[in-house]
Every structure is written in C-alpha cells, then in structure tokens.
C-alpha cells in the first residue's frame, strides 16, 4: 500500500528515514517509547504533519502534498476529539455530512455503525455525558462510518483504565478482522503491539529498529533495544564470555548450540539476552528436556508467587563495559531500574524460597548474544526476523 522513505525535521529528525510497506488489509503497529516519532509518523500518513523528504504512497499514488481530507483515511485520536456540540449521532454522521451524503444514506450508515459498536441507546446524547469507553466507541464510529482506505489509531486506549483497555483491545481486533481494512495503530504499550498486530514496527528515536510479526520480534529481536522493549517481564541481559560452545555467565558456565557459537566466535565480551521464560526450576524439568539446556546454582533474592507461575529475582554484578550499555538501554526504554538482576519465571509448582540457593535450568537454545558496542543481535535468525534495517 505504501512505500515510504521519510525524513522529518526542524534540525532534529523526529522520524528519520523510515520505510514501511503495508499490505492491503494488514494491521500494522508502530511501537516505541515516548518520543520515538511513532505519532509523528502516523500524523504524516494522515497529512497533519508535513513530510520533509521522501514519498508517502497510498494505493500507488503519491499523497505527500494532498490535504488530509483528500487522502480518504480515518483516524482515531488519543483524546478522541469528539465534537462536544453535536450529539453522538451527528458526531458519527459528521464525515458523511461533509461528503454530502443523502439523509437516508446517513441514517442507514450511522445506524449500522452504532449497531456494530453497541451505541444505539446513546445516539441522542452529547459526548460530555458519555463514559471513556463510550467516547472511544463514538470516535471509532466516526472512523468506520466512512469507506476509508485505512484506519489510523493514535494511542486510542491510553486514556482508559486497565480493564476497559483489555476489552477495547479485543474489540478493535475483532472490528479490524470483520471489516478487513488496512490499519495503522500507534502505541507505546508492547502488550497492545503484540496482541493486535499482524506486523509490528519498533521505532527508537525516529529510526525503524525492526519490522516483523510479534512472534518474530519476540523470538528473534534484531538488537538489544527490540529485545528489551518486547516482552513482559523484559528480557534479561547478562555479561557473557564465549569460549567455543561454552558461555560464561555471572552464575556459571552454560553450553550453547554449535551454530550460535560459530557466529560469535572470537568476539570476547558479549551481552547475553535470555527471556525469563527460558528458565526453570531444575527439579521440575523432566530428563528428556534437561539436556537441551544447562543448569546452574544461584542465590534467589526475592520470589513473587503468582499462582500459575513464580518470578524469582537473582542479583548479579556486571562488568563496567556492559553496565554502561545496559544503563543506556534502560534510558532508551524509559525505564529506571538501577539494579542488575536476573528475572526468571518458574513454574507455579516450584518450591524455591527467598534466600535459597536454587538449582536453575536454562534453555540455551533461546539465548541470544548481542554485541555490546553496537547492540546488534549476533545470533539472530534472519530467516525469521522480519525486516531489520541497517544504518551506517
């Protein structure tokens, strides 16, 4: 649907050289921490923000210089931007009235949209009297009532409380599947990104980091930033020294598969990234699995038992070179954890207690090794990692 290379800037490039190709009917998420340029990018698509250079293509047509009204896109704003002086009905009908539709047509289309969104009993009310979730639905109604070429969502759920957010998320996903319309969705919430998107574009300071399906992002992050951003609790980063197929971690030495070892041979000090879920209490691993990974012993600092799983926290010391890179990463991710610790997710049946010296098993096939200087993932499986742009 489009093929864009865009630069934007007033000295500072808020969006720098981003190219994303979105297929018809696809649900694409733009995700990143605040200030990464995702909203700017969306506003450039819809035409509210000028494009400094590059081409914005919609359906094979260059739309850089078209006004928003000529692009035939529908957008849901973060604060909904409903017209408070109009009733819900008129709010939804607004785009149709502007397009000069007949009254009968407006009636029919608005009723259809309100039925889809379950707004029937609120049609005559003013937005001021609606709850957050209802306003959200009105904003969506205004978008779906037109036959727009694409939907654009700008953090539509960030003003809702957690429970409603979950419901609306499912609602949006259902709606998009039903209407089959191309959608671009901006969020800073990685859960929304993972659950909604066909593909997810991760942005950092105006640069596209990786464009891939949620699974690809999770299993094959292109660099430290993507690895740290996607997943909750986030991926653990540990200093690692590779020697042959042996990797020396703060907690002990583990074996890694030969093909991974090959890629990182002779690199010296690296950062190992392991998802919390790749760990397990060694006593709960059946023997057939055990040889896939390695075990080590470590002292457990804090344990959080959640019923079906247990989070255990294991502090460790990192050498200064790695420490610095990790601190920078935290900053990029808007985080503020100052402690270098390993977060591991164990089965709920685990009996590990605080202060115990536990035997932990780790699935090393799921381990990634990153270059501490560039942050690149050295063990990425390019076949299954979507698109990772390379910057000079």
């Amino acid at each position: 649907m489009k093929n864009i290379v865009k630069k934007y800037g007033d000295g500072f490039p808020a969006v720098n050289d981003v190219s994303i190709d979105i297929a018809d009917g696809e649900f694409v998420i733009l995700v990143g921490p605040s200030g990464c340029g995702k909203s700017t990018l969306l506003r450039m698509i819809v035409g509210l923000e000028d494009i400094t250079s590059g081409d914005m293509m919609i359906g094979g047509k260059r739309v850089n210089d078209l006004a928003p009204r000529d692009r035939n896109l529908a957008m849901v704003f973060q604060n909904y931007a409903l017209y408070p002086h109009l009733t819900v009905f008129e709010n939804i009908a607004f785009p149709l009235r502007l397009a000069g539709a007949s009254d009968a047509e407006i009636q029919e289309k608005v009723r259809t949209a309100s039925k889809t969104l379950e707004l029937d009993e609120h049609l005559e009310r003013k937005p001021g009297n609606l709850s957050g979730g209802q306003r959200q639905r009105v904003a969506m109604g205004r978008a779906i009532v037109r036959d727009a070429d694409a939907f654009l969502f700008d953090e539509p759920l960030s003003n809702l409380d957690a429970k409603l957010r979950g419901q609306m998320r499912t609602e949006i996903a259902r709606l998009q599947k039903k209407l089959g319309i191309t959608t671009v969705y901006v969020t800073h919430d990685q859960t929304e990104a993972m659950t909604l998107g066909d593909r997810v574009a991760v942005l950092k300071r105006g640069l596209l980091q990786q464009l891939a399906s949620p699974r690809e992002l999770y299993e094959n992050p292109g660099n430290l930033f993507v690895a740290g951003f996607i997943g909750s609790p986030p991926m653990n980063f540990l200093p690692a020294k590779v020697d042959g197929t042996k990797v020396e971690l703060p907690f002990g030495t583990v074996e890694i598969p030969a093909e991974k070892a090959e890629r990182v041979a002779g690199k010296g000090l690296l950062i190992a990234g392991i998802r919390p879920g790749a760990f397990e209490d060694a006593s709960l691993i059946d023997t057939s699995h055990a040889n896939l990974g390695s075990t080590f012993r470590a002292k457990v600092d804090v344990v959080e038992w959640l019923g079906n799983e247990t989070y255990a926290y294991l502090p460790f010391e990192a050498p200064p070179e790695v420490q610095e890179q990790l601190l920078q990463l935290e900053k990029d991710l808007d985080g503020d954890s100052l402690r270098t610790q390993l977060v591991i997710s164990l089965d709920g049946a685990s009996r590990v207690k605080e202060g115990d010296e536990a035997e932990i098993w780790v699935d090393t096939t799921q381990m990634h090794l990153f270059d501490p200087a560039s942050g690149d993932n050295l063990t990425v499986d390019h076949e299954n990692a979507g698109q990772i742009p390379v910057y000079a």
Binding site: A67, M75, F77, L82, Y83, L98, K126, N129
Partner: protein, 281 residues
C-alpha cells in the same frame, strides 16, 4: 462548618446591599417615569407618586409619539447591530489567526490592538469630526459604526483568541481528517465551540455602541444618524428652563429595554464548559 446559617445570612445581606446599590438609580428612574410633570415641578420627593400625580403610561406614550425619539431608537438599534455584527465577524477571524497561526508581527497586532483599546475616546472626537466632515461620513450611520468597531475590536479579539486557544487542536485536525476543508472545520467545529466567546464579544460590543454618548453627540447633527443617548439630551420639551424630567425618564427606560432583551437572549448562549466532553474526561 458550624457557622453555615450565619454565612448564608451574610451572603444574602451582602447581595442585597450590592443589588440596592446597583438598582436603586434604575428603580428611581422607573418611579420618575410614572410621575406626572406637575408632580415634579411641585416637588414630590417620595418614591411613589403623590396623590393625583400618578401619570400611568402617559409619559411613555408621549415619548414614543415623539418622531425624533423613534428615529433615535431606530438609529441606535441599526448602528449598534451593524457595529456588533461586523466587529464580531472580523474579531472571530482575526482571533482565530492569532490563536492558531504562527506569523510575523503577531505580537505587534496584539499590542496595537491593546493600545487602541487604551486610547481615550474623547481625544479622537476632534480629529474624527474634521475627517468625517471632509469625506462625507459626518452624520451618517457609517460615521458611527466605524469608530464603534475600532474601539470594540481589540477587546473582542482578545476575548475570542483566549477562547480559541482553549479549543484543542485535535478538534480541527479530526474535522480535517473527516474530510473538512479548513473553512468547514472553522465554521462547523471551531465557531460553535467558541460560541460562548463569540456571544460575550457580541454583548460587550453592543453595550459599547448602545451606551456611547461622546461619538453620538459629536459626529451627528440631525436625526439621520443620531443615536438614543445623544437624542435624549435634546429632549427639552416646550420650556427650555423646565426640562420634562418624567418624559426623559420614560425615554431612558425605553432606551434600556433593548439592552435587557439582548442580554437575556445572549446570556443563555454564554454557557461555560461547552467544550467539556470534547476530549478525555
């Protein structure tokens, strides 16, 4: 609070005091307008007309029967309405530009507007009198509409630009994405949202124009354009040494009615918080 009945009583007393202070002259003028001419010459200081001096609607009928008076009311309504409409339209457009656009000299426009508002009206009357006579605007409606507009525009622009600034940008952007041109977005979304501001500006402008005396008396010479405040001062009756006070009072009351009507009509529109519900609650 323990002293809440006391507080309520205090507020009531305070309100009553202020109301008396403000409305006593008005009440007095109304009382005066119902007294007969004799009652005033004889000296009748009571609030209610003395025995046999109650004039009923006579003064009102007499004032209304006066051709000059009717012309003056007509002039005042026409001139004030034209000045208000023009001033509000221009101010809306100007305020929108000031609130939304970045352009060179924006500060200059705002400070100049303020400077004009601070200019003493009286100091302009002389030059205007000469100018208007030279270019033929003297004693015409336009000759009054123009100064009224220029003196009310600054205030209207300031009021309205404050209102426009309160309206979230997204409202307009949403309208544009929905397919509106900039003009449609302005007319269908921004102006209705700024309606309280527009009506405030309209009321203030109308007040200024309606109540003005200095321009009204200096820039007119006949009833072709003379507005009501100026015209009332020409209301001398038969005996120039014995001014018809009760007739004047009746005229003044009639002259106040349009103002009251306008305020009552517009006040309904000035509802604060119209924008509530536009964005997240």
């Amino acid at each position: 609070m323990g002293n809440s009945p006391l507080r309520k009583a205090g507020i009531a007393v305070g309100a009553l005091l202020i109301l008396t202070w403000c409305l006593l002259p008005v009440a007095w003028i109304i009382s005066l307008s119902f007294k007969s001419q004799e009652s005033i010459t004889n000296g009748n200081p009571g609030f209610l007309p003395g025995d046999g001096t109650f004039a009923g609607w006579d003064n009102y009928v007499a004032a209304w029967d006066n051709e000059q008076f009717r012309r003056a009311i007509f002039n005042s309504i026409g001139i004030s309405l034209i000045a208000t409409v023009l001033s509000v339209i221009i101010a809306t457009l100007a305020a929108y530009a000031i609130a939304r656009l970045e352009f060179k000299g924006k500060k200059l426009v705002l400070t100049t507007a303020l400077a004009i508002a601070m200019f003493p009206v009286v100091s302009l009357v002389g030059p205007l009198f000469d100018m208007w006579r030279a270019i033929g605007l003297y004693d015409t409606w336009a000759g009054l509409v123009i100064p009224y507009m220029s003196f009310t525009l600054p205030l209207a622009i300031w009021t309205l630009s404050a209102f426009f600034r309160e309206i979230p940008w997204e409202m307009e952007q949403a309208a544009q994405v929905d397919g509106a041109t900039s003009w449609q977005a302005f007319r269908k979304v921004i102006v209705p949202l700024a309606a309280p501001g527009v009506f405030t500006a309209a009321i203030l402008t109308f007040f200024f124009a309606w109540n003005d005396f200095v321009f009204g008396i200096s820039l007119t010479s006949t009833e072709a354009a003379r507005p009501i405040p100026a015209s009332l001062s020409f209301f001398v009756g038969a005996d120039p040494f014995n001014r018809p006070a009760s007739l004047l009072a009746a005229g003044a009351v009639i002259a106040t009615i349009p103002i009251i009507v306008i305020v009552l009509v517009f006040q309904r529109k000035i509802v604060a918080g119209l924008t509530s519900g536009a964005v997240k609650g």
